[in-house]
Symmetry: C2
Subunit: 454 residues, 2 copies
């Protein structure tokens, strides 16, 4: 009986699909343990209606890689599995395993498109294989949510979006990562106290219907609340929103803002704004919530409904209209180092050719080309190519198992993303899918490499 408990970090080695372990063992027994694999993570297509991805979750991957290990309890657990019961040597090898490879990635908050690698792991193939599941799960989710949040924040224009999704996220830890990704993509604050503690995201929150209901009179609940929190937002739709606002005014209750969580927001916000304005409550802000998404916010904004804050939960933290990012982690090359000279190696490009599921071979770099201060096109090239003038997007974060970069703070990531959004051509920010997706070209060398597999 554990919560999601303290032993999670200790058990990080087991946070992997079982087949990664059987493959690792097969590599071990095939004399391939010193072969280096290069794996890239990317998506083949964007989620429905999306025109870009906001890459997110890298900090957690750096931490995962640097902490990766199997404890003796885990090794014992594996020994108890019939597939590993005679695998003394392999399990001994696992017990000593630490990340000794390289990590290349685009900075969190970067905007990417299909077939562009988010990150690349270069490591002995057993390690690289074992990391697959955790990396995919973490980066798929945070990127999914950052990409959704970006659409929601865009649709709200100059109004503020706050993230209220904890209760509908896929378990409490998922809620944490959702808060992080949402903040990076432009949400201003979160209802999640633990996310505030962990990531320094500002907290937001008003009151629940149950609070109002626990008092005999709604107005009594409001009065008691503003004694303690004079700047709070009052939740006015427990019984009747219009009655509530009239009562607040009648009793002269201090009221910095109101929140409306149900009903016809088009009608209610206009009516309430009018009542507030003519009663000396012109300073009182209006927040709305209740199954909002980028489409409903867009409609409210287009009709200039007087709203100051949007509280967005379920639709954001589950990416409800398309709740999975199909990121994949594919072998693009193997390297065989000379046993005599560690600088010498043979590199063999790899490419999967299943129907409709192609991988591009070789370790790659993304070169972003600008025009008039905006993104113009990307060129996907082999890592060693040099294309200029262009911005190479993948940077090295870890070399030989050592972190080589100071990771940015949360406000820095958020600011970087904000800047990236400002130079993304505006047509890609529309809620509808563009007719022509952002142009990602392949370099001539990469094309030749692909051709060589035919």
């Amino acid at each position: 009986m554990t919560v999601l408990s303290g032993d999670y970090e200790d058990n990080i080695g087991l946070a992997t699909d079982f087949y990664e372990l059987t493959m690792a063992s097969a590599y071990f027994h095939s004399g391939m343990k010193d072969v280096v694999g290069e794996f890239e993570m990317y998506v083949r297509k964007l989620p429905n209606n999306r025109n870009y991805l906001v890459i997110c979750g890298l900090e957690q991957i750096v931490s995962f890689l640097m902490n990766f290990k199997f404890t003796s309890t885990q090794i014992d657990f594996l020994k108890s599995n019939k597939l590993f019961k005679n695998e003394e040597k392999f399990l001994e090898y696992l017990a000593g395993l630490r990340f000794t490879g390289d990590l290349w990635a685009v900075p969190e908050g970067t905007i990417l498109f299909p077939n562009e690698p988010f990150l690349r792991i270069e490591a002995p193939i057993i390690q690289a294989q074992l990391f697959e599941t955790y990396i995919l799960s973490m980066v798929n989710y945070q990127t999914l949510i950052a990409s959704k949040a970006s659409r929601i924040v865009n649709s709200a224009g100059d109004k503020t979006v706050v993230e209220f999704g904890f209760r509908r996220a896929h378990s409490p830890p998922a809620a944490l990562f959702a808060s992080r990704a949402s903040y990076i993509a432009g949400c201003k604050s979160t209802s999640n106290t633990l996310a505030s503690f962990r990531y320094g995201i500002p907290t937001a929150g008003t009151m629940a219907h149950s609070y109002v209901m626990s008092f005999e009179d709604e107005i009594d609940a409001f009065k008691k609340f503003v004694v303690v929190y004079p700047d709070s937002f009052l939740l006015i739709d427990t019984y009747d929103s219009i009655d509530a606002i009239k009562n607040i005014i009648k009793h002269g209750v201090k009221c910095n803002g109101v929140r409306i969580d149900s009903g016809d927001l088009f009608y209610l916000c206009r009516k309430i704004r009018k009542i507030l304005d003519k009663s000396g409550y012109g300073h009182t802000k209006i927040m709305v919530s209740g199954d909002l998404n980028e489409y409903t916010i867009n409609k409210l904004m287009k009709e200039k409904v007087p709203i100051d804050y949007f509280g967005v939960g379920t639709e954001l933290v589950t990416s409800r209209d398309d709740p999975a990012l199909n990121g994949v982690y594919k072998l693009v090359a193997i390297k065989k180092y000379s046993p005599h000279d560690k600088e010498k190696y043979e590199i063999i490009y790899k490419m999967k050719k299943s129907v409709a599921k192609i991988t591009f071979p070789g370790p790659k770099q993304i070169f972003r080309i600008m025009k008039n201060g905006k993104y113009y096109k990307d060129i996907l090239a082999l890592q060693h190519e040099n294309i200029s003038p262009a911005i190479p997007l993948l940077k090295q974060y870890i070399k030989d198992g050592v972190v080589t970069i100071n990771l940015p703070t949360m406000p820095e990531i958020r600011k970087y993303h904000e800047y990236q959004m400002s130079i993304l051509p505006v047509k890609f920010k529309r809620l509808e899918p563009v007719l022509k997706i952002f142009p990602v070209y392949l370099s001539k060398e990469l094309k030749n490499a692909i051709e060589s597999f035919k």
Copy 2:
């Protein structure tokens, strides 16, 4: 820089929406800290196309409640928030807070319908309010996934379903809970090694495309694998599934099973079954995977495509066709105990009357009535009512902060659920929504209680 790290359990007190804390403080300052609140969790409507819910996640809630506390680091963190900087007394109160109330719930694996409470917390209102967010997030998710898994397992008839969703779950910890819920609802095994370690779920897994690609020849990859794992499933669609199977046979590679992850499964499985059968590989099992759900499985089963195992991932662990369960946690009553006699109290029923968002007042019990060995109807009644012959579904798990029941093991929960499914009338197991939902009636006393609010 933490993974999802060890400090999660320690920080359990902060795993709550910020407004639960501001409300707690308002209760504290309104002289209401000894008022007892009764909160029930339920859903107002089922997810799309579903005809029932499989309730799941209770074990994690018992653990959460029994471990609930704020550490001094957390209290310091709250003190640093401007809303709590002058709240010495309240924070001191929080520092000493432990769960002292009661928990009633239906056993995990129980089948429920809209408006039926999954669980009820009875505790001093500050506690009960603080638990809301965590309870909703955890139980919403596990119930969502168990309910989806149940449909998928049903659609597969006598074939085996294995859960492969780790990489597409909403972060690694969500994957853990998805494995747990899927196993309870009838999946046979999981790819998630940590879920096997934590919950004792059998592991499953074959090999990845990258493993096959890391060898020069596909057949070489297979040969090396079966040396180590002679009973393994070979992944045959990296290049061409038919070529692969012919090569396996030609080289006489031992082959307990094959997995196909792409292409036209209707065509490929039939063709491959035929080739296997006529080549002395009649014992070789066929597993399919790749964005399967209850609908695609249903089609494959209806056409009697020769498949033995279904590996289901993304669609299952994200409940892709409806990725959020809108469970709510509502105040149904408050109790005011006499300061002189702890046995005496006044109970005040509560009911929310927002448009289209009604709560039924009072603490309740669900009475399930059987006919011919199957579910016949449910009666939602007040807790103190006695309806017979009927099975009262809510049981007490915690009394005055002490666990009063031995929690069932995972195999016990799975078995209990299997039995419940066997007595659910078959029409509710269809993939399409039934015309008439399962009948849940309100008792006369409950109707009177509702009437009294009008």
